[in-house]
């Protein structure tokens, strides 16, 4: 295993470099977009919801930002993984390389983007007067599991996408839905209390909830939230690995 990692380490870094370079190819601002895009995104949402819908609560921008932060990482990563096998078909039909590297590379590329956005998020927190303390370190916990979760979902989607191209369109509809049910720009208190537990079944919401609890409320979430974050990630990773292992040698016939 260690040998394998070493063998593919160089290839992996080259793939990440390629994906990163390609993302900003031809843009004037280049990597600055990684900061600018989420920034503008948050500002638009904040503007709409504070002025048009007259919604305002304490740290509302941070509330929205934590939502879009997680959601955009999830979206970019899963969509990137989904398409990565098809995009690299001309490589793996000619050269014998492990195909999971393409998905890993997309995941890492999305993670780099996420990290840049995360720095911006911290800056916003500082400006907004969020109190910083050692409890902030627990943010690494949901971020790690989110990364694992995204990779797992990405592998499942990539396999499905190879077999049915319709998945791309279905998934973009699903993402729109997910955007609305993840309480990104509204508090879940607007939902009747007896239905609020449903949100916990949405993994994306769990990660957002964890971050909000730590940043805005300044406390570490309950054990239940911890278990949900890790549990969803592990389940989807396991399914992803099983699907990948099963279909690994079939992809070739469908690309």
């Amino acid at each position: 295993m260690l040998n394998k990692v070493k063998r593919y380490q160089f290839l992996f870094t080259e793939l990440v470099k390629r994906d990163f370079k390609k993302k900003y190819k031809g843009t004037v601002l280049g990597v600055i977009w990684s900061l600018l895009a989420p920034l503008l995104n948050v500002l638009v949402l904040a503007l709409v919801f504070t002025t048009v819908f007259k919604r305002g609560q304490e740290h509302f921008i941070i509330y929205i930002f934590s939502g879009t932060l997680v959601m955009s990482f999830y979206t970019e990563c899963t969509q990137g993984c989904m398409r990565s096998l098809m995009q690299n078909a001309s490589i793996f039909t000619k050269i014998n390389v492990p195909k999971y590297l393409f998905m890993m590379s997309k995941t890492i590329q999305a993670f780099i983007n996420f990290s840049l956005t995360f720095i911006l998020f911290i800056v916003f927190c500082l400006i907004d007067g969020i109190s910083f303390g050692p409890h902030m370190l627990t943010l690494l916990y949901p971020v790690f599991w989110l990364l694992v979760f995204n990779f797992g979902v990405g592998m499942i989607l990539a396999a499905m996408f190879v077999f049915f191209r319709d998945v791309e369109y279905l998934y973009s509809v699903f993402l729109t839905l997910l955007n609305y049910v993840s309480a990104i720009f509204y508090p879940i208190s607007i939902i009747p209390e007896k239905f609020q537990w449903l949100f916990k079944l949405n993994p994306v919401y769990d990660y957002i909830y964890y971050i909000r609890t730590v940043v805005i409320d300044g406390v570490i979430p309950s054990l239940e939230t911890h278990l949900l974050c890790a549990g969803f990630a592990l389940v989807f990773l396991a399914i992803g690995c099983i699907v990948y292992k099963k279909c690994n040698h079939e992809f070739l016939y469908y690309v």
Partner: protein, 316 residues
Amino acid sequence: MTVLECKNVSIRYKTGDLKSIGLKDYVIGKLTGKYKVTEFWADKNISFSLEKGDMLGIVGTNGAGKSTLLKAVTGIMIPTEGEVVARGKIAALLELASGFDPDLTVRENTYLRGALLGYTKKFIDEKYNEIIAFAELQDFQDYMFKQLSSGMKSRLAFSIACLVEPDIIILDEVLSVGDEGFKDKSAHRIKSILARGVTGVLVSHSVQQVRDLCNKCLWLDHGKQIAFGPAYVVCNAYSAYLFSDKNPDYLPKNEEELYEASNRFRVAWRLGVKEKAAKLNPPNETETKRIKRLLGIVDNMTPEERKVIQDEIDKR
């Protein structure tokens, strides 16, 4: 020692399923029971084995399953049935120019391809200048890959792929890359790799190339193995088949027929040589026409006449 062995390798493609009909038709087909997957065997029961130093040529018309077989040999594909046993490091030079990234520069692509082929960073750092020099792309290192001509692309691909020192080398139509000057250079490079005693597999549409480079030959036709044997025998029989306008009657069914077909071609060839020496060959006749005519003559010979010529060949 057997270095590469194919044991009853069969590869099946599925057509008519999701890939071609999409999700909606798939679901409807499943529900109404009309859903059917048609199978297509790209290769069926292919067997051969190569010793160290052997060079195998694979010949066959388009769609014979040559490239698919190579994919199984390199491990890109897993055979549906049978197995491929390879002892040693395999380097595959398949359809070289594909798989590069059009938006990256020549330099970036060189590193990426090197990494894909399993080279280390250190190795490529060392060899980078050599690769570029061999591909004659010194002035294009920072050009985007899509800006290169197709000849340049293939040259780069060839240069990167040929750095390897493999135990088994797989070549798919790679010797027809670039302009005449580069062709010579690449043929020379391949020959020097082969001279190290590696085992090789070559797919080529040029029978002459197979005769030049290979000592064994595998003939495939529509996924079936027609013959496997000494290169000159199989090449002769294959040439005779080609000159018969791919008439299926000329596909040898067993070893005896293979040798017979090979002999028929040799006799015709010998007749041609004699004809030329006596300056009896009709002027302005194309090569194809000439060989066809000669094969016709051979078919009309009596066994005695044929024996005379055959003895002549054997004596030489």
